[in-house]
């Protein structure tokens, strides 16, 4: 028995959400009195792989094969399942990223395992039961899922588990995976990535704005506030529907669901479908001129007033805060 964690890389580097997944998997390995192995696919330098030791991976299986250079979920799922068989893993952990969502269900089927997608805390192990908490009903509830198959696959929601540094070292081993040509029929034609921006699902701080801002020409102050904070920008659905902002910024029930440490909502009313995507944010700040806006009911901090006056002042205050801290 062992625990296996899949460590997805972004152009050869691991993001914070991956260190969270490794820390989480290490805690499960401790619960089960076993050790943690990580599997990495793609070209990742040794010193980057070695970082995983510090979060509790005892061994790293390094799969660096030409056929697996780009992410094709069918092929990657086969490799991870093969690594799970090889290490006799009873639990496989992934980060619930866009790629993770495409992998976890396939791995679960291959291993005949039970799956929890988007776990938000460690499993509860009582009387031989294995129960994992996740969000359901678009953040309006939590569900406790019991996995009763021998093997388990868990994908962890980013920003829901704290990184723990163990100070240990990992042993890196090359792993030659079997690649089936039938797993590689999908072909990637193009990848477009805005590299200068904090990506929304990974962001710890998010500044978001809605129809209250009147038009796309007024987003300058939103971007400035976000830049000052090192935050990602987001928006409500009508804003992206009107093409004021790209669809990739749309949060809510039909957009992206996020759980950052701080969510600042400017000129957003707080419709139930919007809240569905943001209500698990740890701290919510609402700036709205209408004191009756429903968003204030779920906010931690609120300012009632005109965003066009408040946001520029807030930017000035943050600049002087930054200068002094």
């Amino acid at each position: 028995m062992s625990v296996l964690v899949y460590v997805e890389n972004a152009e050869g580097k691991f993001k914070k959400s991956i260190f969270e997944a490794v820390s989480y998997a290490k805690a499960i390995a401790d619960q089960l009195n076993t050790s943690l192995t990580a599997v990495s696919i793609g070209n990742v330098a040794q010193d980057e792989l070695q970082k995983l030791g510090n979060y509790g991976a005892a061994k790293i299986l390094n799969v660096n094969q030409d056929a697996l250079k780009s992410f094709i979920n069918q092929a990657y799922a086969s490799v991870i399942a093969e690594a799970a068989e090889k290490t006799a893993a009873s639990v496989v952990v992934l980060s619930n990223s866009f790629s993770g969502k495409g992998l976890a269900p396939r791995i679960a089927v291959k291993l005949n395992a039970g799956l929890v997608d988007g776990a938000i805390s460690l499993p509860e192990l009582n009387d031989g039961k294995f129960i994992v908490k996740k969000t359901a009903f678009s953040n309006k509830a939590f569900a406790y899922v019991e996995l009763h198959a021998d093997k388990k696959v868990i994908s962890l929601t980013p920003n829901s588990y704290k990184i723990v540094e163990t100070g240990s070292q990992a042993v890196i081993e090359d792993f030659a995976a079997t690649v089936k040509p039938t797993d590689l029929t999908a072909l990637i034609k193009d990848i477009v990535r805005a590299t200068d921006k904090v990506s929304l699902p990974d962001a710890e701080l998010v500044v978001s704005a809605g129809r209250g801002l009147k038009g796309p020409e007024n987003w300058g102050m939103v971007e400035e506030l976000a830049n000052l904070l090192g935050a990602a920008t987001a928006c409500s659905k009508p804003v992206s529907d009107a093409d004021w902002r790209p669809h990739s910024e749309h949060v809510g029930q039909t957009g992206i669901a996020i759980s950052p440490n701080l969510y600042i909502a400017i000129g957003i009313s707080g419709a139930i479908q919007h809240l569905a995507g943001v209500s698990s944010s740890k701290v919510i700040v609402v700036i709205n001129k209408d004191p009756e806006a429903p968003f204030f009911k779920v906010a931690d901090y609120g300012i009632v007033g005109d965003a066009f006056e408040i946001v520029p002042k807030l930017i000035e205050e943050l600049k002087s805060f930054k200068a002094n801290n």
């Binding site: 988007g118 569900a143 999908a186 990739s248 009632v304 002042k313």
Partner: protein
């Protein structure tokens, strides 16, 4: 072109979510059910791709008889025929296995699903289904077109997008952008009543998960209001009290 669209039947987006039986069951009392919004987008795109006799669209749903109005809605929007697997689904693997059992010898070129159901939010059925059928899967897609015997899709990735060419058949989980929602017209609603709806009995499945308890989030504390003339107070509170900056 033969397309299968998987549809789920979910509580309306404005539903107040409560639980019964000691917080073990979703309380369906007074809840309005709808066709999952993402599945509606998938269906709309399937109809566009098969317009003017270019193909057929079948919808499939795994659920008991109470879900038939949702299936009829899909037929009213424009699906040609429907299949209902007569079972109360227990988890995503159960659903995927039922759909696979039906689809495996039907020669669909393309199987579309929503990116996730808005109730259990699993985002699991499409990839599980593809794995059982041993075909490619792709999610979350924002664009879908056909080029000969392959689909060209745009997939969302962290901070950007990826374009893939995938040979048919494959499974795709769709999101907004793929098509506009279609509102059924009178003719659609009338013809939906007579379109074929086949009811199949489920195949046997060993399920591997079960929801044992639900919980609603603890209400947030009172909001701390800050005067509009004192934004520095907000900065102070975010730093000293909330410790997020």
């Amino acid at each position: 072109m033969k397309i299968l669209v998987c549809i789920s039947h979910v509580p309306d987006t404005t539903t107040k979510v409560t639980f019964s039986d000691n917080d073990t069951q979703f309380n369906q009392n007074g809840v309005q059910f709808i066709l999952n919004p993402y599945d509606e987008i998938a269906l709309a795109r399937a109809i566009e791709l098969t317009d003017n006799g270019a193909g057929t669209v079948t919808v499939i749903h795994v659920g008991d008889a109470s879900t038939e109005p949702t299936i009829r809605k899909a037929l009213a929007i424009g699906a040609h025929d429907a299949v209902r697997v007569n079972a109360t689904p227990s988890d995503a693997f159960f659903v995927a296995t039922q759909i696979a059992a039906y689809a495996k010898d039907q020669n669909f070129d393309l199987i579309l699903a929503g990116r996730e159901s808005i109730d259990y939010n699993g985002a699991k059925v499409p990839a599980m289904l593809a794995e059982i059928l041993d075909i490619p899967s792709v999610s979350i897609i924002k664009k879908l077109s056909v080029e000969g015997n392959q689909g060209i899709v745009e997939r969302e990735i962290e901070g950007g997008k990826e374009v893939l060419a995938i040979p048919f058949p494959f499974v795709a989980g769709t999101a907004e952008g793929v098509a506009e929602w279609k509102i059924p017209n009178m003719r659609g609603i009338m013809s939906a009543r007579t379109k074929p709806l086949q009811v199949l009995e489920p195949v046997e499945v060993q399920t591997s998960s079960k929801i044992v308890k639900f919980e609603t989030p603890a209400p947030r504390g009172q909001v701390t209001l800050i005067d509009a003339s004192e934004p520095q107070k907000l900065v102070d509170l975010l730093h000293a009290e909330a410790k997020v900056i």
